[in-house]
Each structure stands twice: as C-alpha cells, then as structure tokens.
Symmetry: D2
Subunit: 186 residues, 4 copies
C-alpha cells in the first residue's frame, strides 16, 4: 500500500483511507489485472490509487469537485493518471452512463446508499464484487440489507485499529475510528 503520508492532503476533504483499511478493502475486492473498477465517493483518492495499481481501468466519482481535484493530484504524484477516469457528479446519474465493471467500491456515508448499491449491482459483471466501507452505524445496516435483498451473502468485518506511537516513555497506542467493510460477490 502507499504510505498514508505520501498522499497530498487538503483541508475540507477527509482521508486518505488509512493504509490498513485500504489493505483490507483491496483484499476483499480481489481486483484482477484486467478488471474495471468503479470507486464511488473517491475523496482523497486512497482507494482509487490502490485500485489503479491493480486494475486495467478505474472510474472514480465524487460530487465534490475539490475531492476530484485532490484525487487528480494524488494520481499524478504516483504516476497513475493514465488508468483513471475522474467524473464529477451524482453517483446515480453517473452510473447510468457506465456500461459494466468488475468491482464496485462504495464509501458508505452517501445519502442514498441502497439505490447506489442496487444501480451498481445492475452494471456489475457476473462474479463481480461490491465492497462498501462504512463509518456510520446506519450505513452498515443499509449495506447488509441491500446486499441480502439482491440475493447476495454479505461478508461483514468490523475493523478497529490502534497504531503505536514510539515515544520516549514507551509505545503509546492511538485509537482510530472503527470501520466496517461489507462485501459480496455477484
């Protein structure tokens, strides 16, 4: 994974998704070298960049132009620009215009998560994967419910990470916000 500190960051755009969480999301996504990935709510570009290192093509969406600009800068910094198409706009609208893909990554805090998952599912190739990253109590349940409704069996993993900070007095354990990763195969 790209180290957290190697991402350009700007105020107002959260992220990037921490190294350990990117690592787990990538494991669940099982991206193959010929895959097309759609990343909804790309933010700082953490998952976009990691996907771009593995996939043939990545389409990254965000409704916030600052997030897209930041993702663009991070792609450039890491030489991953050619593989990624950046699209500003509402996820539901943008998804309409995309033909099909193999992996569907969704940052879980969007307002209409169930609709986004359903529309992504429509365009998802057979054996494709949906991976939702959720930091809200509510979106975890929305993701699980929607995936079950679509006939999939969700894999649910709640991850709590503490990082050690080496200080003179010893190794201080600093807690991170817990994240839940909900994934399923079509």
């Amino acid at each position: 994974m790209i180290p957290d500190e190697d991402f350009v960051q700007i105020q107002g755009v959260p992220g990037p998704t921490k190294e350990e969480v990117r690592c787990l999301v990538m494991c669940k996504a099982r991206i193959a070298s010929n895959d097309t990935v759609v990343d909804v709510g790309c933010g700082s570009g953490g998952l976009t960049l990691e996907s771009a290192r593995k996939a043939r093509k990545v389409i990254a969406l965000d409704k916030n132009p600052e997030a897209l600009e930041l993702t663009r800068q991070n792609l450039q910094k890491h030489g991953l620009t050619p593989k990624v198409q950046l699209v500003e706009g509402d996820a539901l609208e943008v998804l309409e215009g995309i033909e099909s893909f193999d992996t569907f990554l969704v940052g879980g805090s969007s307002g209409d998560l169930p609709f986004i998952i359903k529309q992504g599912y429509e365009k998802l190739n057979k054996h494709g994967r949906i991976v939702v990253t959720s930091i809200l109590l509510e979106t975890r349940v929305e993701a699980v419910d929607t995936l079950k409704e679509l006939g999939m069996t969700p894999d649910v993993v709640e991850v709590t990470i503490a990082k050690g900070k080496i200080t003179e007095r010893g190794t201080m354990m600093l807690g991170r916000n817990p994240i839940t990763i909900i994934s399923a195969v079509k």
Copy 2:
C-alpha cells in the same frame, strides 16, 4: 460517573480519564465507604473525584503542580474537597510517608512503575486492591510482571471504546485510544 464535560480542563494536563474508563476502573477497585484510596498520577482528577465519592479518604499524588491545581479545582467544583489530600512530589517518596491504605490506583505511564507498585503493595492493607491503568505497551507488561512477582494474580482487561456522534447523515463512530486495566487483590 461525572460527565467528561463537567471537568475543568487546562492545556498541558491530559484528561480527565473518560467516563467509561473511570467506570471500569471503579468497578475493578471495589471501593468501600470506609476505605482509604491512594491515587498516583492524579492528572485532571478524574479517578480522584470518583474515588472521593465512594471512599472515606483519598490521597492524590502528582509530580506536576499544574495537575494538582487542576484536581483541586475539580474537587471544589464538585464539592469533594474535604475528603481529599493533595500531595505534590515523587510517588516513591510520598508513599514512604503514608501509613496504609485499601486501594492503590496507578496511572500507568510513570517511569518507575514496578517500584511504585511494589512500594504501594507494602502499604496496602490485606484484601486491598491495586488497579493500574495503562496506555503504553510497555507498562502493561511491567504491571503484569510486577503483580505476578508479588504473588498476585493479575486481572487484565483491554478496553476499546468508540463513541457515537449523532450527525445529520447518521451515527459516526469515533474511536478512543485503547486502555488496559490491570488489577489484583492482596
């Protein structure tokens, strides 16, 4: 427990120990109404105040005069001043001058934890309790090793808390630093 926000806070003194951790430390300490408690490294006074609500008498130590002043202010704010004796100084020296007590609370980041635990053990009444709160990897092991060396059986509990923040988009889970509570009975 006293709500976190009801403590006076000043820059440079950490704390207070969060409500949920105070709650668990108090459970492990099992303070009775006739007990004397010694609180080493009182900081903002979180555990001092909770102990003062249960015990007959509390002796609170800190080598940082600002911490003692802050504890003094918090005791006054909550009407608990009469029960508590505040002592500035090095724990090992101060402990020499104390006769005996029933509960020994130790904030685990002090440099000479094993010595402090041993000296506290000497002055601890039969059936008294030692409760160490540790945020460093190293002090957890020091506490366990020292309590075992003293012939006690340590109870070790690592606690990771996430608090929900109610936002418009949902309940965001915010992680806290994990804390380990190591306790034993003489």
Copy 3:
C-alpha cells in the same frame, strides 16, 4: 460487580452479561436506591442482579421460562430474591400491566425493539433512563432511531473487551464479542 463465575449457568440460556459490560450498563443506568427498574430479556439475570443491588425494586421479564428459572436461582444464590419480581411473557404485554418505573433496561436482540422502547418510554418516569444493550448491527440502529424519534438524544458506546489469560508463555489476549450500549434520559 458480581464475578462472572459466581453465576449459575445452564445450557440454552446465554450469559451472564460479562462483568465489564454489566459495569458499563450500570454506569449508564445511574440507578438510585429508591428506583424501580424494569429489565426486559433478563436471560441469566446478570443485569437483574446488579440492578437489585442498587434499586428499591426490579421487575425482570423474559419469554423463555428457562431464563426466568435461571435468574431465580441466581437471585437466590446471591440473596437478592426479595427485591425482584419475575414475569414470564411477551415484553409488550407485560409492560401494559406495569404502572411506571425509573430505569428501563433492554437486551437488544428482541424482534420488536422499537415497539418495546416506545412502550417502555410511555411508562418511564420523567428523568428516567433507557439503556439498550445490543449485539446485532440492526438493533443498534433501531435503538438510535427510536430514541431520536421519541425526542431523546442517544448516547452510543461501542465496547470491545479483550481479557488477558495468564499462561506459562505470557498473557494471551482473548477477544470478546463487541457490545453497543445505547442510552438516553427522558
């Protein structure tokens, strides 16, 4: 708190709620000595017994007669029988027959949690407290949503505990299932 191993246990009835979780639930419940507590889904009686040590009166409900019998045995073992009324039946029906109370404890895995919370709220005295303990993703959200709908501000705490097991090779950390405690004041 009563040590976990001091509870009578039988196969088929889960519990008791672990010491550390009982401790946190009791902190959030803030039971006063003159209070009446209703405990919905008493199971092995963990929270019933802790409530009985603090409150004037506890009414413990469960639809499972084995759970009630087990709670009865645990109350007897700890000399707390006189304070507790055990009622077998569906929570919604039983609640109809109770006049009012100060603390409402709900084990979160019941099927109709929102209705139970609403009916409990009706009977709850002003300044009374609702404390829901949830082990399912879904009931956490149901509890938060219902408390918000009732105009209350839920306090949400997710607790992850690991207990140290002292072995010859060292202190092995054994994970417990995470539990979310959702509470609010009327």
Copy 4:
C-alpha cells in the same frame, strides 16, 4: 487471500491465521516476486501459503512436526508445494544454516523471540522486512524493544476484528482475539 475455510485443519495445531490478519501481514511484508521469505512458526501454513503466492521462494520452519505436515497438506491442496521448503527444528538452529533472505515473518509466541529476531536480522538483506505477529502482551514489547535495539523503527498496529454472522434475527458481531503486527525495514 485464501478463504479461512479452504485450509485443511487438524486438532492440536492452531490456525490458520485469519484471512484479515494474513491480509494485513502481507501488506506490511511487501513481498516482491523475486523475494525469499522465511516464515518462523508456520503453524497451519496460513502465512506460508500467502507468501508462496507472491515470493520466489519460502522457507517455512516449525518445531512441531504436525504443524509442518499440515502446512505440507495445505501447500499441496493449493498447488504451492514447489516454491516452499519445509524445515523441522528449532528456529535459532535452522536460521544458522540459511544464507540470506528478504522477508522475515515471525509468529510472536515463541519463547526466545528477541534472539530469533536478532538472528533473522543478521541474515536479512538490506531493505528487507521483519514482520512479527503477536498475540501475547509480552511478545509485543519484546518485538518493539528488539527492533529498536537493532536500530530499526518499528511500525506497531493492533488489530481487533469482529466478523458479522448473518442470522435470522440480524447480523451478530463475533469478536476475534486482537493481534498486534510489529514490522520494520532494515
């Protein structure tokens, strides 16, 4: 990662290391296709197999012949036998006979962790990586201390995972034992 249930398991040999932990260890190990990996305490072969999928060669050690036999079966099941050399014996002795390698994986519960890390460090190529997986309080500190003594800067990550179990009543969160991953680059 290979799904947990795709590993042959036998009583008496713990493991395999769970999918999510294997995933994080592999991220920290950053194995390149031309690398040689040494896996100390291979157990069921979880990390051996994942390493074999990425590296040129893996040397897997265990003092327990049953563990080696199980790793052998798992390698065969997943067609990874040719890349892996299995060696029974004490880690310190076996390491003497190995020339050099790029990645050093250590299961952290061994008795003489500091010596194993030091000897591995000797044989580790420049820019090589050491990754220790620890389930004991004590070995976490031993790993951090030894890596610091060797002039490295340890990266410390404590990971607590809960897996959702889909039941009729909802998604029950089941806790796993916390694991600490300590890694460093030479």
